[in-house]
């Protein structure tokens, strides 16, 4: 057991750090560090920069653009991106749809979609949840009826993150409503969001941001060639994908950056002399120190390309709890100034950064709900790891 980086790993870290330093534009970085809202172009812009460098999809097979990095190298890369304030890599294409295509897609589908996902030509989003199908995803009702060489899709998806940026959406749809088990009769479809019959409507969240949407499908024609895996076998795909979805949810590098920020703000507010505050802060920091090692121990077990299992549920639970605790501490540093959100007169003087802390606390409540609520994660661990 050796928790120090080897000379090669240190050299790799230095290389990544120097490259980010030279290539990360200050504008999106400052937005990330001050919790601003990134535009579609800013998100895709960073994606394209990484793609040009060949670093956008480290975990893909070499032939499709993967880097053959070790588990530790991948970790170092994420660590450096997080620390530097790089825009997040939107996961729906590179980390979710692509692994599905690599595992279940036809050659034609791979050829058609993977290079575009890699290069950031399309903005992908995820069409899983429905008004009546959240944690109980298998009860989804959006119908896809085969009609010649295409499917006709009718129904509604909800909580579609960045759906208003979406060029393409991967969806779980019901192709057979009469099966005994609800998990049967579901299929995995790729849908062009420019198709006639699709309407995207924003849902305003408790921080008043626009981040998630409702997506309505009204007799949308989808070419049958966009079916991934077999018809009525979509649940297998869905389960495969969920492991990958949870993988990126306990972002340790970002938590470390946020922790440093909390300390900075707390120092300014004089809170580091208050043992009641520092005790809570320390418990979060210690939990994060432990989670970093837990994460590495689990990644170590994933060597050799085994798809992530129930252990990522543990990372998701702890990681999101830490994220929430950090935003709570951060909001607290604002004290009586926390409620100030926007000036009434647009040109009034305004501490825009402090104004992000309360909305952010509100926004991050989502973390323990999305990608399978933390209660669902506990169900998964109970079943898969503990055998209960």
């Amino acid at each position: 057991m050796d928790l120090n980086y080897s000379p090669e790993e240190t050299a790799f870290r230095d290389e990544v750090r120097a490259w980010i330093e030279a290539n990360l534009p200050s504008e999106p970085r400052d937005k990330v560090l001050s919790y601003g809202e990134l535009t579609k172009d800013e998100l895709l812009g960073w994606h394209k920069t990484l793609a040009k460098k060949g670093w956008i999809a480290p975990h893909w097979p070499r032939e499709w653009g993967g880097t053959d990095w070790t588990v530790v190298q991948r970790y170092i890369f994420e660590e450096e991106c997080g620390a530097a304030g790089c825009p997040p890599i939107v996961p729906f294409g590179v980390r979710m749809c692509a692994p599905v295509l690599l595992r279940f897609g036809t050659d034609a589908q791979k050829q058609r979609f993977l290079p575009r996902i890699y290069n950031g030509d399309d903005f992908w989003v995820q069409g899983y949840s429905e008004p009546g199908a959240g944690s109980d995803l298998a009860s989804l009702k959006t119908r896809a009826v085969r009609d010649g060489d295409h499917y006709v899709v009718t129904g509604q998806k909800i909580w579609t993150t960045l759906g208003h940026y979406g060029d393409w959406i991967f969806c779980l749809v019901r192709t057979d409503p009469k099966t005994e088990k609800r998990q049967d009769g579901i299929s995995f479809l790729l849908v062009d969001m420019k198709s006639p019959g699709i309407t995207v409507r924003p849902i305003v969240l408790l921080d008043q941001s626009r981040e998630v949407n409702e997506v309505f499908f009204d007799d949308v024609a989808v070419p049958a060639e966009n079916l991934v895996h077999e018809e009525n076998k979509g649940w297998t795909v869905a389960k495969f994908l969920l492991g990958y979805e949870r993988m990126g949810t306990g972002n340790i590098a970002v938590c470390k950056r946020e922790l440093a920020r909390v300390k900075e703000l707390a120092a300014r507010a004089g809170l580091l002399d208050d043992p009641r505050f520092t005790d809570r802060l320390t418990r979060v920091e210690v939990e994060l120190m432990a989670l970093e090692i837990t994460n590495l121990r689990f990644l170590d077990q994933l060597r050799g390309g085994r798809p992530p299992g129930a252990e990522v549920s543990l990372l998701k639970i702890k990681g999101t709890e830490i994220q929430q605790a950090l935003t709570e501490l951060m909001m607290q540093t604002a004290g009586p100034l926390a409620p100030i959100f926007r000036p009434v007169a647009p040109d009034a003087p305004f501490d825009a950064f402090t104004a992000t802390l309360f909305p952010r606390y509100c926004n991050v409540r989502k973390a323990t709900i999305y990608a399978g609520s933390n209660e669902i994660q506990r169900n998964i661990i109970a079943k898969a790891t503990l055998g209960l």
Binding site: P275, T282, V286, A290, E292, R297, I317, A382
Partner: protein, 378 residues
């Protein structure tokens, strides 16, 4: 960076676990803790025979020359089996003091005998009202002729009653809370003026109060530099704390496994109680506490040997905070989920509960280490 054990480490783990599995069953342990000494000479001899007593020491003295990760392996196994032998006191504290601070003569005199199982040690530090403050030393060492005279009162000395040699902290200068002026002495337990009163701990370890009345020591009894003992005390206690964290991880593992097993076998309302979601989620939280405690114990054992004292303090205190929290959480939940049976002396879970509870506040409880972590982070 890697998390694999080496072949040697795997062998160490297998050998020790095999021994404990056959020779240290819960029944066998029951007889040991009921014996007058409270531990087993045979087990001690076997640990010497297997080289377990030699793990952290230099090959010059017959040691294995192992790392603190090797010690983590030992302590995890001990924690699972609830070993009561004076290993931490002898190897983790006394032996560590001698190895790190002793003169060439002291090392040569003590370490080979210790490794062969012929010499046990303990660390006499705590005094009335000192709580966790290692600076709070009022025991006095006064120069007398060529040597020293000790006067003082030490409390709750872990395995003090069975130690051949006690490492005693005493003041040779400074006020009672000063870091400067603390010196360390090697004192034979049977020396004139040493009065030892032994106690049985509720966690089945032995402790002793040690009264030192006009204890005359030669010049060679001083360990390290006069008045400069505090740095070594802090360093060795940090080392022992990291090891204790590893022991806790082993005990937590046992509590996890036993509780999970109980949820699967205990039936109520016609079904295993593990089918109830309220209990499933609590069981998952036990698992999470275990994984997190294990991670931070690994970190502490890797970093405890660092030369950077501030970093060492920070990491060891971080580990102790998490391990204390996890020990409390898991031990309480394990008893609760075992229901009435968890309350009984008959089940190992109650013994594990008591040991974990005491580990949680040995060498400083979570509150103490929260304050220490904050100070070390400044």
């Amino acid at each position: 960076m890697n998390f694999e054990y080496s072949d040697e480490q795997r062998l160490l783990s297998d050998t020790l676990r095999k021994f404990l599995g056959t020779g240290y069953s819960f029944d066998a342990r029951g007889k040991i803790i009921a014996s007058p000494a409270g531990f087993s000479d045979d087990v001690w001899a076997a640990l010497a025979e297997m080289g377990i007593l030699s793990v952290p020491f230099d090959a010059v003295y017959g040691g294995f020359g192992g790392t603190t990760i090797d010690m983590l392996i030992v302590f995890e196994a001990f924690g699972e089996a609830l070993v009561v032998e004076p290993y931490l006191a002898t190897v983790g504290l006394g032996g560590r003091f001698v190895a790190r601070g002793g003169s060439a003569e002291q090392r040569a005199r003590i370490l080979p005998a210790l490794i062969q199982g012929k010499h046990k040690m303990a660390f006499a530090q705590t005094e009335v009202d000192a709580r966790w403050d290692l600076r709070r030393v009022t025991t006095r060492a006064t120069k007398s002729g060529d040597g020293w005279v000790l006067e003082g009162d030490k409390r709750a000395v872990l395995h003090g009653g069975s130690a051949d040699t006690l490492v005693v902290s005493a003041r040779t200068g400074g006020a009672s809370d000063d870091a400067r002026g603390i010196s360390l002495f090697l004192v034979e337990r049977t020396a004139p003026g040493v009065a030892v009163t032994e106690y049985r701990g509720l966690d089945n370890l032995r402790l002793a109060n040690v009264r030192l009345s006009g204890v005359r020591l030669g010049r060679d009894a001083l360990l390290g530099t006069e008045g400069e003992g505090f740095g070594l005390v802090e360093e060795v206690v940090d080392y022992a704390t990291a090891l204790l964290c590893a022991e806790a991880v082993g005990a937590i593992k046992y509590a996890h496994d036993a509780t999970l097993d109980y949820l699967k076998t205990r039936r109520q309302f016609g079904v295993p109680i593990g089918s109830f979601q309220a209990l499933q989620h609590r069981m998952v939280d036990i698992l999470i506490s275990y994984e997190q405690a294990r991670s931070i114990a690994c970190l502490a054992c890797v970093k405890v040997d660092t030369a950077d004292a501030a970093e060492r303090r920070r990491i060891v205190s971080a580990a102790k905070i998490k391990v204390a929290d996890a020990a409390r959480h898991v031990s309480q939940e394990a008893v609760q989920l075992h229901g009435g049976m968890g309350m009984t002396e008959e089940l190992k879970i109650s013994h594990t509960f008591r040991r974990l509870t005491m580990i949680a506040q040995a060498f400083g409880d979570a509150d103490h280490h929260l304050a220490r972590f904050a100070a070390a982070s400044r």
